[in-house]
Symmetry: D2
């Protein structure tokens, strides 16, 4: 979304402004109706729905929307995409705070439903603390007990990963056998951990330069067919801004399926309000969302 | 909570102010420390926990709290209470808006996990519209499609129930074979439908006088051992205000288990802020909560 | 909204279903396009705006919407309506919790900006407790201090009003000289206090039967030209359901100006989602809203 | 908060882990009770309050808290701090979306109530777009109109600032005479603009490396006496993590006054949940908050 269209060798490319070079051929028409050479055909691939009546209830997506069919469709989609697509998950730290949702995410990775993950320093740190000491920010991720000196667990985890030199080596050295980062390393799944000013540490592997992180994310996302953003406005909107609406996959133009799950209407709708039109939003706690997905895909 | 203590035949009773009669012996001491004859022993039945440290993270219950253990405990509790307790559910209309959560609620009733329901006109109307015409407020509860003339479904349902004279007769006459009200009538479970100024209709059986509704609710709640409030501030706080903290059940003093589930921290915490101290809150969409409970209890 | 159209003496009237009598001539066509005798001309009085572009940011009203002009328009509107309209305010209890907002509301009443108020038992009780004992639910409304035995203030206020027989007599007897109810009684402004199952007490004057309360509200609202709902989903949606879109005032058809102010997008948008299309929503804390209005109208 | 204590020349310094050097003397005791050489005297400077009763209403800070006195205290504080302290404002982009709040912020800067600002690329971009083209993300910041081709305004602003080489030169070249960045440059106030993965552009001056941004923020914040965070979880929590609880100012130990203003309880409470104990939170829309402050300080 936040790019210019640059023509190279008669083909259009979306290029970030800061990467446009002098001499590039940039498309500059500013009408949607082809009068300046551009026609915005945003609904070209949509099957038309019959027009709604003027007076109708419940036209927006809120906590009161019925999500049963969305879940069922998502199970089907994930099963298909597993073999025929490329699924990118965008994870907020809350995913690692809860025992069951962390486990569900691990199972999704181990069963081939995850091709790439975007997240920040906190997701990785909380997840590793959970594998290392059974807590996240000092609170047991199952019993909710605040452990004595628990607030040190967070820092100790970061220090010990630093000491090992990488997340991979830390997992091996400490025989960690569960969690999101564990499954990622085991299955050799790629991830981008983008830094933020809220980070402490950071862990090795976290990208300090946000525009470098953007470039890595953009490269990955341009090949994605499904994107699922969970409980992170920062990373989900960043991803939404750089995700294409359609991709060419195996010779076929397909829409990119973009889901955003958050507990507030504001967060899930903000992406739409920033111009990402084709997002499907679900308003719920991501813990429950992930456990549902695990059930629906029958992962043990 | 909102009552006086009246002594009758040497035993204390909680009586609403408007039902206190001239000549009643009302307890009037206003100190908690026994200096005026009353000792507030609010933690008498609690197992003491070791004191927390001064510096700790994550001390409140929010969307980021790990609820895994709460779910597991609740499964155990419900299995025990089914045979040894009295479970009252307090339902907001959102429970009937979603196909899966409506079905989960039906299964809970059919399998003995519900002894009484408190709700309003909307819950019953949406549920009956779903059984009658597959929609709630005109939107298909599975496909989310807004049906042609769907906004009439709501009124037509109310009119046709009125025509039958009762919810029970409407269900029989129209061979409705699914939903919350269907299961209630089939299993002969009691319910209180309290009216509100937002109601249209109302359905037959809805109580127009809110203080009469309160009295019916209070009578029921004084025998409850578990209360679960879902997505309704109005009915849940009303119930919380009248629920006792402890009940005498089979000769044993037991705490009343009070759960409140809502998608906002404000709603679940408000009950606590109004003085109901022992509430366990879960911040999520009640649709997902109910489907979880159905899975956790292995209901088909 | 929740009514039938009944023809009496060749004129149409909106009548609640439960008040339709056998033999009434009810309009029953179910098409919007006049093919069954009815034409839905919902935009008849709107000045047409030029069509928006397909790609645009920020199309919904959220916490990030710029409300500066809405405030300025509202000042102008209120000044006009004061002399040429009928302004109904719908108040949630939060209006009385804060010292400055309670005072702003008092000033609005005293200066002619309020023709009628809809509220519940809580608004009146908190306001009277504040005038009587400087607290609301036991907390000082200015200093936020929780006063010793403050939780009794609420009940004592109710008891003492009951003892006086009416709110008016309680105010006189106790020389209360500030607050919302004080100003209402002094200026002889009408109000509807609708009961709910959350009430304790209730105060004298609160209507126990919700459908009786609806009828009183409907009678008032049919003559309103501006409605402002503050921090109450229950009362605001109830009012929205019964408010007409247009009124005939001094021989001219004018739209009814309907504002809803709440701190969550969900609450302000829910009215729209229930079919009340012409609502103008502002997402903020009503305390600040009211103090703004007081400043904007230059009330001392 | 996220630092080690390192002893240099017999004085303690808070040092981020990644800046600890081999050979540094790090304080490592993990008890709060002095048994390992450390005594946590967190309430040393507090005036003790009498203990609260066990049963009390309204103990948390929510949308229903009375903020009248907080506003009055804040006016006094700002007047004092203007001459005797160092006030750091942490701004989310919403501050620039609204005409009146943007103007209020400008007035605060021009009148000496701002010593430093922390923000991101978006705040600066929206503010400059407003000064340049009267819109923010293409929407007029006063009339709310979506301007034709408005979505280009954002990019054009960034491009033109880039072209000028700096924000300062862009303001001069285009004779921009209003807004936050305008006032900052005119009054020669310092600011830190920290980059994030959501940025487009970015503007010149935005710091791409988040840990470099942290260092600049930490250096500034260690001298702050008042911090006010508005509508930004990311920047406010980052600042809260690095702000000290007490500072030595003119030979006197004083607490750091930390305010956080946001429209959700979750956002304002999260800082507290992450261990920043002394934060004063206000739940409202920051637009209204800023206009209040402007009124309260009598800024024209």
């Amino acid at each position: 979304m936040d790019c210019c269209v640059v023509i190279k060798s008669a083909k259009p490319y979306a290029v970030e402004q800061r990467n446009v070079k002098m001499g590039d051929d940039v498309v500059i028409g500013r009408k949607e109706d082809s009068s300046m050479g551009i026609f915005l055909h945003s609904k070209g691939f949509l099957v038309t729905k019959s027009d709604a009546e003027e007076f109708a209830f419940r036209t927006s997506r809120t906590r009161e929307t019925s999500y049963s069919m969305d879940y069922d469709s998502l199970y089907d989609l994930l099963k298909y995409e597993k073999d025929n697509g490329y699924i990118v998950w965008v994870l907020g730290p809350a995913v690692a705070f809860d025992f069951d949702s962390r486990k569900a995410m691990q199972k999704l990775i181990e069963n081939g439903y995850v091709q790439h993950i975007f997240a920040g320093n906190a997701l990785a740190t909380h997840d590793l603390e959970a594998g290392y000491m059974k807590t996240a920010l000092g609170q047991n991720i199952y019993t909710q007990e605040s452990v004595h000196n628990g607030h040190y667990h967070h820092l100790q985890t970061i220090n010990d990963v630093q000491d090992c030199g990488s997340i991979k080596k830390f997992i091996e050295k400490n025989d960690i056998d569960n969690g999101i980062m564990y499954a990622m390393e085991k299955e050799n799944i790629g991830y981008v951990l983008a830094g933020s000013i809220r980070d402490d540490g950071p862990l090795p592997g976290v990208i300090a330069d946000v525009y470098e992180a953007q470039m890595k994310m953009r490269k990955i996302i341009s090949g994605a067919t499904t994107v699922i953003g969970l409980a992170t406005q920062l990373h989900t909107i960043a991803t939404g801004n750089m995700a294409p609406s359609y991709v060419l996959k195996d010779g076929i133009v397909r829409p990119v399926n973009f889901y955003t799950v958050d507990i507030t209407e504001f967060a899930v709708n903000k992406l739409r309000d920033r111009g990402s039109l084709a997002v499907k939003s679900i308003v719920t706690n991501v813990q429950d969302f992930l456990v549902h997905i695990k059930h629906g895909l029958d992962l043990k």
